[in-house]
Every structure is written in C-alpha cells, then in structure tokens.
C-alpha cells in the first residue's frame, strides 16, 4: 500500500532518499506544468523544476507539518518562479511590469511539451489556441502570470495563493483581475 505524504516526509527527514524521490514523483508533474505555464521555454522550466526540488530537499528537515506539504511546496515553487523572473529581469535591465515582445517567446516550445492526446485536427486547433494563450500569458507581469497560473491551471483559491505569495488577498485579487483583463484583450480574436 502506498504511504501517505506524512509517512514519506518522516522517512525522508530521517535520510531515506527513496522516500524523498517518491514524494517528488507525487508532485513533480504539476510543478513542471506550473513552470511550463510560467516560463514556456522547456529548458527554463527544467531549471525551475530542479531549483524547486533542491530547495525542498534542503528545507525538508525543518518541515514541521504546520501546513499541507503541497501548500508548502507551492510556496517554494512560487518563490522560485518570482526570483527566477527577477534574475532574468536584472540581466535584461527592464522593469517588472514591462510587456514582453511576442517575438521573445518561443512559439515552438509549447508544441514541444504538450502531450498529444487529441486527434490530429483537434490537436492542431488546441495547440494553436494554446500557443495564443501562452503568448498572452507571456505578456503578463511575473506576479500576474503566477496568480493566473495558480488560479486557472492549479485551481488554488485566492486565499491560498496569497499565502503562497506572502501578500494580501486583495493584492492577489488585483493581480487576477488585471491579468484576466489583459488576457481577454489579447485573446479576443480567439474567442469572439
């Protein structure tokens, strides 16, 4: 029978590496998916993924079960995403709220990573829409993109997102509102 998270965490805290791996494999697809939505480039997404789980590995011995493991993990993932973007921005000498040029995004990246489950026609259409959505996402600020990703793709409540991002719920609402408005503007051709 599969062990629950608490048992795996306890074993990992005692130094059981396989327990840690099992714990990672339980959540890593969602973390990678979140990273993909956030950075779109597969290589960047892998970097984020590794950074998240390396931080989890280092911090797990201090995990005291005060929150759900998944919430704690996403808090780390959130921090890694925001720090990653901040680092990139430092290199680019640009402001956080600047719109990204569509040409800076990688239009092939999404098709490289989307799992193919639909028929070829549906797949082409879905991929096309997905690419437009990804471009619209890339045009958001890091905070807006993160809130949008966590709400729409991961299904977290705004209260939990505020907890992960360590900011007020009102701020998260504002990010979500602005993000959705900007997505709406960019995607109006796709849905109208």
């Amino acid at each position: 029978m599969a062990l629950d998270d608490s048992e795996l965490i306890a074993q990992a805290q005692r130094g059981d590496v396989m327990a840690f791996e099992q714990l990672v494999y339980r959540y890593d697809k969602r973390v990678l998916s979140m990273a993909m939505a956030y950075v779109s480039d597969p290589e960047d997404a892998k970097d984020l993924y590794q950074e998240v789980f390396l931080r989890v590995y280092r911090a797990l011995p201090k995990f005291e079960f005060r929150s759900q493991f998944s919430t704690w993990l996403y808090r780390i993932a959130t921090n890694v995403c925001l720090t990653h973007r901040a680092r990139q921005k430092q290199h680019a000498h640009a402001s956080l709220d600047e719109e990204f040029d569509d040409e800076n995004t990688n239009p092939h990246a999404l098709s490289d990573v989307l799992a193919s489950e639909a028929t070829s026609d549906e797949h082409t259409l879905n991929t096309e829409i997905a690419m437009q959505v990804q471009k619209a996402l890339n045009a958001l600020s890091p905070q807006q993109r993160l809130v949008f990703t966590l709400r729409h793709y991961e299904g977290y409540k705004l209260k939990d997102i505020a907890d992960m991002m360590e900011c007020a719920e009102g701020t998260v609402k504002k990010y979500l509102f602005t993000a959705t408005e900007r997505m709406r503007e960019r995607l109006k051709d796709a849905y109208q």
């Binding site: 130094g15 791996e21 892998k46 590794q50 959505v133 705004l158 509102f177």
Partner: protein, 329 residues
C-alpha cells in the same frame, strides 16, 4: 454600486470567489444592467477558450529529462555535504595542530576561526551542506555499552551545542560520529542490500552505480527485496548513464514479470533516448507476450505508438512484427 467594482466581482464570481452577500449584490445588479450582463457573457467565453486550450501538460520526455537532471543535482548536493564535512575536519585539524605546536592555549580558538572563515566563504557562495540527518536518541557518557566513541577510528564532525552552559556541570550537544565500515557478507543479507540500494540511487560515480547493479544482477532475486527492485526501476528510468540503465534492465529481467516491471519496460520503450535499450525492451516484451494467452492492451498500445512515431526505422519494423505476432495468437 459602481461598474468598476461590479466588473471585478464578475471575474471573481466565475472563479467562485465571492461571498454570499457579494454574489447577491452582483445578481441583483445584473437584473438591471445590460452592459454588465454582456460583460459576463464575454468573460464566460474567455474562460471557455482558456479551458479549451487546456493547461500546459509537460510531455513524458520533458518530465524524464527534468527528473534525470534533478537526480544529478541531488547527487551533487549529497556529495557536497560529504565534501563540506571533509573540508571542515581538515581545516580544523590543520589550524589546531599549527597553533597548538607553538601556542597551545590558542589551538581551539584558531580552529574555530578557521571554520568560521570557511563558513563565511561557503555562505557567500551559497555552499550550504545538506541537512538530512538521522534523528538520534540522547546518550549520556555513562551509558554502558553505548559509547559512540568506543571504536578507535571514529571521526567526530558537525558538533552542535544544545546546552553549552556548564554551570551545573552538564553540557549537551549533537555530533556526527563517522566510522568507515568494511562489510563482507551474503548478497541477500538485508544490510548488504541496503548499502547496494543506496549506491544505486546516490553514488555520484557511475562506475560504482554500475558495480552495485551488477552485484544484484549476478544473484538470484529474493521475494523480500522490493526495495532493491524499486531502486533498479528508478535507475532504469532515470539514471543518466546508459550502461547503468542497461544493466538495471538485465537485472530486472530476473524478477517475476509483474505490473511494475511491465510499466518500467514500457517506459523504456517509449522514452529512453538509447535505441539499443528500446530494442531490448521490444525483444523482452515479445518474449513475454508469447507466453500470454490474452494480449496485454498496454503493451499493444505502446507498440502501436512506436510503429507510428519511433524515429528508428528498425524499431518501427520490429514493433510492427511483434504486433502481427500478437494478432495471430
């Protein structure tokens, strides 16, 4: 109630994030405001489009690459921890011996200063040792038969004071006692297997991982060694060295064919970048299907996908041939 506020609430209503009172206010407003009703319809269309596009799902290949990368990073992290311990021990010993020869009274302080300097340097470079540490029972030096320092070759490291105040004559601390262990024994001994499992998953050096896998491969599997089997499956799926993956595959063939092993072999056939391993997987699965009365649908599906999309012509041909064999059974 202004439109801007209502517009914000319309977004939140679609995310089910409004309180009852807010929802009633929105519903009430919508009965009277054509503009906001239109706004809500447009938002619903947007949400429909987003749902249709789906969330970005990473491909299995990308996930596999990410996991391989993570394993390499974690192995490095663990070995850095060991390196950290070696460095602190060496510097501590060096500083202590250097000063004690001339100024015995300053030996401890010098060692401490040296360690402090290393700590500062490591901190500035982000070199922080991994902190997985077994939980320990408290021992007192008077405990009979439990003296962790009884063996002469023990190295003491990572001393952390819990109570350094000796006013009451007692102090308390944690340290790690490292002692080299030389073991010779039956490969089916659980203690031996524990070390082998650790080596397969954690050793930085692929040669050591390979030798650990080979040691297991050369012995008949026991029903009780599920941890070894899990370690072999992990190595087969994620080790970045094809030689280790190849030998893990061979070792797993000695186990009774079950769902875990089937899924691991299908994973190799679908995702492994090494064509020789994918061919081995087809050959093994062909043997297995030859003994089955009814075709295994998982195997059939993966073979079909290989016929359609494997980049290697030989694998596409072999997969088609095995599918034909299955049909004729």
């Amino acid at each position: 109630m202004n439109h801007q506020r209502i517009r914000e609430w319309l977004h939140l209503s679609l995310s089910d994030e409004l309180s009852d009172q807010e929802r009633h206010l929105v519903e009430d407003h919508l009965t009277r405001c054509e503009r906001c009703r239109l706004e809500l319809e447009q938002l619903k269309q947007l949400y429909g489009t987003l749902e249709g596009a789906g969330r970005p799902v990473p491909s299995e290949q990308l996930l596999w690459e990410a996991r391989q990368g993570l394993r390499a990073v974690l192995r490095m992290e663990r070995s850095r921890h060991s390196l950290w311990e070696r460095v602190t021990r060496t510097i501590s010993a060096w500083a202590g011996s250097l000063v004690s020869s001339r100024f015995p009274g300053y030996a401890v302080a010098a060692a401490g200063l040296a360690l402090f300097a290393v700590g500062l340097y490591a901190g500035s470079r982000g070199v922080v040792p991994a902190v997985f540490r077994p939980q320990m029972a408290v021992q007192t030096v008077s405990d009979e038969g439990s003296d962790p320092l009884a063996a002469g070759d023990v190295e003491i490291t990572n001393v952390q004071f819990l109570d350094a105040d000796a006013k009451d004559g007692q102090i308390e601390f944690i340290f790690e006692a490292i002692r080299p262990v030389h073991i010779k024994g039956d490969i089916n001994d659980p203690r031996i297997q524990k070390v082998l499992t650790y080596a397969i998953i954690n050793e930085q050096n692929p040669g050591v991982r390979l030798r650990a896998v080979n040691a297991i491969k050369s012995s008949p599997p026991q029903s009780s060694d599920s941890e070894i089997k899990a370690a072999l499956i992990t190595a087969l799926k994620t080790d970045d060295n094809p030689g280790v993956r190849n030998d893990a595959f061979a070792a797993l063939q000695k186990y009774p064919f079950d769902e875990d092993i089937k899924n691991a072999f299908l994973y190799v056939l679908t995702h492994d970048t090494n064509a020789a391993l994918r061919i081995t997987a087809i050959n093994v699965l062909q043997t297995v299907t030859g003994t089955q009365r009814r075709a295994d649908q998982d195997i059939v599906n993966v073979l079909k996908s290989r016929v359609e999309s494997d980049e290697n012509t030989y694998i596409r041909t072999r997969a088609r041939a095995v599918l034909e064999e299955i049909k004729q059974q």
